[in-house]
């Protein structure tokens, strides 16, 4: 399947993502009572088979935890959201959330933050394109065991193309950040393209 985004479509999608990301950061900032620094998000279409390699390059040996969650909207818009945390951030995450070290395990903390970021972001995006999302249960996968590699392999097997959205949520005063990657299968990208064209026609 050969899909490319036109310059207008890319600009439109980037702006929609910007707005949804702003909403997610605002929610996170209020939840953590801190300020979240926003960068311009970077989006690109990549073959999902390159995903394991991209992960290996970007996180270069550092151990990461990934929260993976499927989303399903109307009009054939669906995909999988991956939130990637570096595990050396674990202590910062805990103190951000006000947990005592022995309280609540790390998985619960990541689940809390992920649910805020993923659902706020995707609900915001859905609203902007007059859609509605439902979600599968999130799964936490750690690179400490081999399950991340096999998860990525499985994803790259199931999804032909990935719309990679690199969003970095950087929390001021803490060295905590996480990356969000959206994986969207080929036919769903085409559905998103029709939505983008519809929006572009309005302006």
């Amino acid at each position: 399947m050969n899909i490319t985004l036109s310059e207008d479509q890319r600009d439109c999608l980037q702006e929609l993502i910007n707005v949804a990301m702003g909403q997610a950061s605002d929610k996170l900032a209020r939840y953590l009572e801190t300020f979240v620094h926003l960068d311009v998000p970077y989006i690109e279409l990549v073959g999902s088979d390159t995903l394991p390699l991209l992960f290996a390059q970007k996180y270069n040996g550092s151990s990461v935890s990934v929260v993976s969650q499927g989303f399903y909207g109307n009009d054939g818009i669906r995909g999988e959201s991956l939130l990637v945390y570096r595990r050396d951030n674990a202590k910062e995450v805990a103190s951000l959330l006000g947990y005592e070290p022995e309280e609540a395990n790390e998985n619960e903390q990541l689940a809390d933050i992920s649910s805020i970021l993923t659902t706020t972001f995707l609900n915001g995006l859905a609203e902007l394109i007059s859609n509605q999302m439902s979600y599968s249960a999130p799964r936490l996968i750690s690179s400490l065991n081999t399950s991340l590699d096999s998860h990525l392999e499985q994803l790259s097997f199931n999804w032909e193309l990935a719309l990679k959205v690199d969003i970095s949520y950087q929390v001021t005063d803490y060295s905590f950040n996480c990356d969000m990657i959206l994986l969207i299968p080929g036919e769903a990208i085409q559905n998103i393209q029709s939505v983008l064209d519809r929006i572009l026609e309005e302006y």
Binding site: M21, F35, L38, L128, I199
Partner: protein
């Protein structure tokens, strides 16, 4: 005489959204720039009555533009139109002299209300 209006956003869609949300029949002359650096250059060379300014931009961001504008007093009325809607960001923008803050996406209603509030319409 038409009011010179400047729209500054790195997104073409966002610029069009602002332009389309401006009140019908308002006697204005709209110019557009795509980042903070261009905005400053434009403001130094041209008189602008009201500027609509995005915050998250390459080159010089919206905060940078507000800081320079505060020092050089290039334009009186700045309305920030931003996706970064955190309370701390709104406070910062206000302290740098922005007149108002519009949460993206902009709409005719949001924009008209603000222009009316400040007697610009």
């Amino acid at each position: 005489m038409s009011i010179p209006v400047l729209i500054c956003d790195d997104s073409a869609l966002a610029r069009k959204q602002v332009k389309k949300s401006l009140p019908q029949g308002w006697d204005i002359d709209v110019s557009m720039v795509t980042n903070g650096r261009e905005a400053i250059d434009y403001l130094r060379a041209n008189r602008v009555g009201i500027m609509f300014l995005d915050l998250t931009m390459p080159e010089i961001d919206g905060i940078g533009v507000l800081e320079i504008n505060k020092a050089e007093k290039l334009v009186d009325f700045v309305v920030v139109v931003s996706a970064d809607i955190q309370p701390d960001m709104k406070k910062k923008v206000e302290s740098l002299g922005a007149l108002a803050f519009i949460n993206k996406p902009v709409s005719t209603d949001k924009l008209n209300n603000i222009l009316k509030d400040y007697g610009l319409l």
